[in-house]
């Protein structure tokens, strides 16, 4: 997917005025949050359960190279084939090669965000191989050529009218209908034919278990199970951080993933593959290819602070709780990953200079951090990226700040250590700040603060600051009555 992260403010302005996005955002995230709370309540100690998940992911990332080697060894022993791709191009070319070698005309795809990142679908279709997204939300987004609105429900905001129209045009919907269930059934019929005849399927990977060489997918629809049952060739694509140490660890993470994501105790299907099918099985893949993708993550891994981003399990709890996401929806973030997890990941994959709004458009309210089952400290990362950006870090990227701003903070830092200068500065700023004040209220200040005043007033800067009032306060005679 082509990043549009530099268009953030423009996309935000558009989405805040989009009645359909706004209507959706009023309803869905609150429902998801409620479901999440209910789902988590099956744990007798929710905090411990979340903290345990965070500990598993911390260990997985701390031991990443060793666990990847162990995973590969066991996957190979199971009969899978493993391909390592340094970047998007290597991954896409390899998968294309597999498809061409097998004379495949189309593939069915289970949801895979890393292939959105690498742009696999474009490469396949440019080479005459049709990539059918089969997760209903991904299918709708694909047919409408829309970016994802939410990492779990990519087309969940699309109104039924649009779904009806596109299904009539492209998915053999015969009778127009606005009933989501009937529309879903039409998609079922249309895609069923694809599942039936598919020769090569491509899935993502939720977890890769090092202990046994097993890949795990969670889903509700069944499209991933089809993609793993019907074709002779299965390709499963994972980014390097998907690995977890043991099956027991994977089970705990699956419990957390399902509850944090949809509030379910378990999704309808969890499928665990340890190699291709055995010789005597009639369905299942004869060949299983596991593609391990780096695409910028070994670089992230070098930074001890930034690498916690790799702990993410893609549950979207942070999207659903984020008050900023709740106003603007997924399009504004401009790439495959949205919400707070996108705000911490996209800057590392795309560079800090291309994503400056992503790590600044947050109040640091900490709601994301408070719900994250992987223990990621998003606010601390936002501050870290801002710092790296300001210092134009050669490794993570960054763009020099406006000279006016640099000068301001230099002066500010100097005054801060010299109270007489600090207080003098305040005295001098007062007439400027209060220029338009009337009856103690400021309704306008020109310049960088101007936008505050579109919808808000400010009390005028006090004629006597607290600092000045203290001179009298400290002299006041008072009688204390201890309670």
């Amino acid at each position: 997917m082509e990043p549009r992260t530099e268009k953030f403010k423009e996309l935000v302005a558009r989405e805040l005025q989009n009645p359909r996005s706004q209507k959706f955002l009023k309803v869905m995230p609150p429902i998801q949050n409620m479901k999440r709370s209910i789902g988590l309540s099956t744990f007798t100690d929710i905090e411990a359960a979340q903290a345990y998940g965070a500990a598993i992911r911390q260990e997985a990332i701390a031991r990443l190279p060793e666990l990847l080697e162990q995973f590969e060894k066991n996957a190979l022993a199971n009969g899978a084939q493993v391909f390592w791709a340094r970047d998007a191009q290597e991954a896409n070319e390899y998968i294309l090669k597999l498809a061409k070698e097998r004379g495949v005309k189309y593939v069915t795809k289970g949801k895979s965000m890393v292939t959105e990142e690498t742009g696999l679908n474009e490469v396949l279709s440019q080479n005459g191989i049709e990539p059918w997204e089969t997760d209903l939300g991904e299918f709708i987004a694909q047919q409408l050529n829309l970016p994802p609105f939410h990492i779990v429900g990519p087309a969940i905001n699309v109104p039924v009218e649009e779904v009806r129209d596109i299904f009539m045009a492209k998915a053999n919907l015969k009778e127009p209908t606005l009933d989501p269930v009937e529309l879903g059934y039409a998609a079922r019929l249309f895609l069923r034919d694809k599942f039936h005849h598919v020769q090569m399927g491509i899935t993502g990977v939720n977890m890769a278990v090092a202990e046994t060489g097993t890949i795990i997918n969670v889903e509700n629809e069944g499209n991933i199970r089809y993609t793993k049952a019907s074709p002779r060739t299965q390709v499963s694509v994972m980014s390097i951080e998907k690995v977890v140490p043991t099956m027991k660890d994977a089970l705990h993470l699956i419990r957390l993933l399902c509850r944090n994501c949809t509030g379910q105790k378990l999704t309808a299907y969890v499928s665990m593959d340890s190699g291709p099918k055995k010789k005597d099985e009639i369905d299942g893949p004869e060949e299983l290819f596991i593609v391990i993708v780096d695409n910028g993550r070994t670089k992230i891994y070098q930074d001890l602070k930034a690498r916690q981003v790799l702990r993410c399990i893609r549950c979207a709890a942070c999207l659903n709780i984020c008050p900023v996401y709740g106003q603007i929806g997924g399009y504004a973030y401009g790439w495959a990953y949205s919400g707070p997890m996108g705000q911490v990941l996209n800057p590392l994959l795309l560079g800090l200079e291309k994503t400056q709004d992503l790590y600044r458009a947050t109040t640091l309210c900490g709601a994301c951090k408070s719900v994250c089952p992987a223990g990621i400290d998003h606010p601390s990362l936002f501050l870290y990226y801002r710092h790296k950006d300001v210092t134009v870090d050669p490794y993570l990227g960054g763009k020099a700040r406006p000279p006016q701003e640099i000068r301001f903070f230099k002066a500010w830092a100097w005054a801060i250590k010299h109270p007489w200068l600090w207080n003098l500065g305040i005295k001098m700023a007062r007439p400027f700040i209060n220029k338009n004040a009337r009856e103690g209220i400021i309704r306008q200040i020109k310049g960088s603060f101007a936008d505050w005043f579109r919808q808000r007033d400010l009390p005028m800067m006090a004629e006597n600051t607290f600092h000045e009032r203290w001179k009298n306060l400290k002299k006041e005679v008072y009688i204390t009555k201890p309670t």
Binding site: A13, P323, Q327, H387, F409, P419, I441, W452, Q455, L458
Partner: protein, 245 residues
């Protein structure tokens, strides 16, 4: 009682000095004679949030020199307390001596309601107010300091005050410092939601503990619903005390 040192955030110093005065009056009524170091300037949060950590460190060093000898530091702000408690030790991670000083001070700093309830063990300050009040849970106070029970205890101990539930009380009001004017359209959308939730419950007064939130929500109310009231918890408790000093 050991000397209590006041840390007055610049938002209060410049725009809301009455909150500082209220804090002083209230502490005095509880038998505390707070000191105020006049050399204090700013905790450094604006620079920290803007990514200027070198400059933020300078502010931190000044703060630690000013407050370094104090046994207890109290502030009517959660975000400034979080800055000192959590960010100062991080800022000095490569400087063991300053980090030690930062950790010392971090262990002695309290948000206003936290200090009253957890340290002074006071819930009833002798205030009374007839009416319904709602409480907005500021992000740094709630999630940063895990302080939520304390302000509510203080409110519930006010004679005649009825604490009514506020929908999405713990959702951010959209201030976020620079965010409020750099991403003003998102910020406006957030504060509008907060105010709609306040308007929906027929409360007489909205209380909170964070000056930034007060400027934000208060600023929106002033422009759009000037008859609706909002107060900082310290001002509320001081102003409605039955025995005036």
């Amino acid at each position: 009682m050991n000397k209590v040192s006041l840390f007055i955030p610049c938002t209060v110093d410049l725009f809301l000095p009455h909150i500082g005065e209220a804090t002083v009056r209230l502490l005095r009524s509880l038998g505390i004679s707070p000191v105020y170091h006049e050399e204090q300037t700013c905790c450094g949060q604006p620079a920290m949030n803007a990514g200027y950590q070198k400059e933020a460190k300078k502010a931190a060093q000044h703060f630690l020199e000013v407050f370094g000898e104090d046994e207890i530091i109290v502030s009517p702000s959660g975000s400034c307390v979080c800055m000192v408690k959590y960010h100062y030790p991080e800022l000095f991670e490569n400087d063991p001596e300053w980090q030690r000083r930062a950790e010392e001070v971090a262990s002695r700093i309290y948000e206003f309601s936290q200090f009253l309830v957890d340290v002074l063990h006071v819930e009833d300050v002798g205030a009374s107010f007839s009416g319904k009040v709602a409480y907005h849970e500021s992000c740094h106070i709630l999630r940063g300091l895990k302080v939520s029970v304390q302000p509510k205890k203080l409110i519930q101990a006010v004679k005649g005050a009825e604490l009514v539930p506020l929908n999405a009380a713990d959702t951010c009001c959209g201030f976020g410092g620079e965010f409020a004017y750099h991403y003003a359209d998102i910020s406006e959308s957030m504060v509008k939601n907060k105010v709609e939730n306040y308007l929906a419950i027929g409360a007489d007064l909205l209380l909170l503990g964070e000056p930034g939130c007060l400027l934000n929500i208060g600023g929106y109310l002033s422009r759009n619903h000037p008859q609706k009231k909002i107060m900082h918890l310290a001002s509320f408790l001081a102003d409605y005390r039955r025995e005036k000093t």
